[in-house]
Amino acid sequence: MTSVKSLLAKPWIWSFIGALLVWLATIAFTGGYGAGGMVTAALSLAVFTVIVGVGQMFVITLGPGNVDLSLPANIGLASAVAMKVMDGNDSMIAVGLLAALACGAAIGAANYLLIWALRIPPIIATLSASFIIQSIDISYGRGLQIKPPPGFADFANWQILGIPVLAILTVLFTIGAAIALQRMIYGRSVLAIGQNIRAAWLAGVNVGRIRFLTYTLSGALGGIDGALLAGYFRGANVDIGNEYLLASIAVVVIGGTSVAGGKANVPGVWGAALFLVLLLTMLNTFGVSAGVRLLLTGLIIVGVITAAGGQKAPR
């Protein structure tokens, strides 16, 4: 009984409950048909939101005003860079992934440079950076769809017993991220800065370095996400990252991370990503039109955030 109680006290548990309810509602509607396939599909798609969601989570945890709005443009450019470097050639996969990672990290570092050197608020800096990145992407990729090497596309879609391999790898990655958040100096520093940046400075935290690392990390995760998306959807294009602007922020908030900063959790990002994907699947299954689907998605996100925001601050 006490273990159930302590489980219910975790801020991330609600996103999983939400995902479960949506899934149950859908298979009740279909009469149990496609229940397993739905989970597999949800896992495959949730992976991409989780990867950028974790980056966004660290950024948002830095405190009010911190957000990375350049992720969609970043994903778009990195997917093009990865595909061009791989050039349809299986032997270049690792090099391509590294290129995407470096491209994303460079974008993240540039974001922080704008914030730090020009003292622009992060929301403006990352938004204006995304326009520049998008322009580079358009002139670099010429708007063409670039195909991944067959080996990479197969890898991105590879499943073992119905479980996507990418999802397994992402679970391992998120475990690492959770440990970094709670048990490493880096994570503690991010949490301290998010609660009170001045107190963090006076307690000896290297505020500038930690913020730089965080924006670079978010950028790098966006970059790798772009490469994986291009592999999964068998082609890179400029718009491939568009839906991850709202999604990356929504999974952070629905997952129980505080928008005010200083309080974060990684499991919630998974729960929220599954919830969002399953929600779309459910609405598709119910056969509602695209307009209604977007409307309901928006309303449900607002509802969840309102409910999650209802918990009282410790004061």
Partner: protein, 489 residues
Amino acid sequence: MPEGNADIIRLNGAEKHFGAVRALGGVDFHVGPGECVGLVGHNGAGKSTLMHMVAGTLVPDSGKIGVHGDTEDNYSVSRAQQLGIRCVFQELSLCPNLSVAENTRINHASLRGLSWRRKAADLIAAKLDEIFPGHSISASDIVGDLSIGRRQMVEVARAFTVTQDRLDLVILDEPTSSLDAHTAGQLLAFVRRFVAGGKSCILISHVLGEVLRNADRIVVMRDGKVVVADAADAFDRDRLVTAMGGAEARQKIAAQIAAAKPTASPLRVRARPAAQKDSTDLVACAGEIIGLAGLAGHGQTDLLLAIFTAASRARAGIEVTAPVALVAGDRQSDGIFPQWSIAENIGIRSLARLRSGVLISPQREAELAALWQKKIGIRTPDMNNNIFSLSGGNQQKALFARALGSDAQIVLMDDPMRGVDIGTKLEVYDLVREEAARGRTFLWYTTETEELDNCDHIYVFKNGRIVANLRRDELTEEKIIQSSFGDAA
């Protein structure tokens, strides 16, 4: 008292507590018509609290307020305004984004109609001309663009403008702190004219000469009480200083510290304030407790922060030879991490030492917390409780534990005992002396003069500079007050 000569304001037995802190302990205070009352006392003596009550911004916990001979039961700012009582507070209250004329309109609801802006401009311009002839401030200037001195001139002039409400009493809280000698003289001359016209003023100033020359009557406050109230010509500078400081014998704890001090210990900090004109340095060696004294906000915190910054990045004029930690006085904005437990709040300064491998060890973190809970006496059943489960004094102890539990050999203390109860203070004093005996260096900014008894050496600050440099055997409260209230700018 005859009806025609009723006091403008009279407070009887006014008391005020902020939490456990007694700000005012039963004060009787009055201002009659046609007099200028000087109010002097240390930081924290209760002057501002008393003036907030006169102005209606604070309500006393107990005691009576009477205005113009009638008892006021629901006294408030707007009531004070109606009754002709205005206040110029130390923290300037003008809106920086509005013009001088627009700021004037805020206090005068009767300036209406399409031309209200011109009416307000005429009103404030006339008053500025009257008080500060040749002032060169335009009513259309945006307040944020004015220098701090000009802002103070506008603030003062605005308080003396009259439209429909009466004006009997103006409280001037440090009105000359940002004015140069010339404009300050203009203002004080105007105050004398104002008082000669049958109106009244309360003048608060740390420049004792100003008060002695311009007040008719002087009220001295200490520790939330009025200690002396007498005609101004009954005072001279020395009597005033003695009354403020409390000349009664104070126990000197630290004779034994001075005796036990090693003569040549290694240098830890050498620092010169940015505003220092001569070559005076603050020097701190291993095992020393150095006091930073003087009035609040005269550059002590700035120097501590400069030393803190210099520890990680080289800075001109400041030499720091060991790791530094800081104990914040303003807990909420500079110290506490509200989401965290007591243990996490203590551990943040020592994360690198709490690691095993790359991960922070929860066991070591708990050990550090438990060690300091015992050593400094943090009263809680569980160090994993949220930091806000502690009382203010115990939160402050956690901040001390954060600094003392770290590898820092230099501990900077930014007036850390603000609002802390006396029991906690005594415990922490003992601990500080004990840690100093082990070779740690403390730089201790404090606004409470008794705390300086714990120090080996005291630097007195004024206007961002070191103005006096006292060994502990030279330390008397009078000396500190003499230096920090010195009239020489």
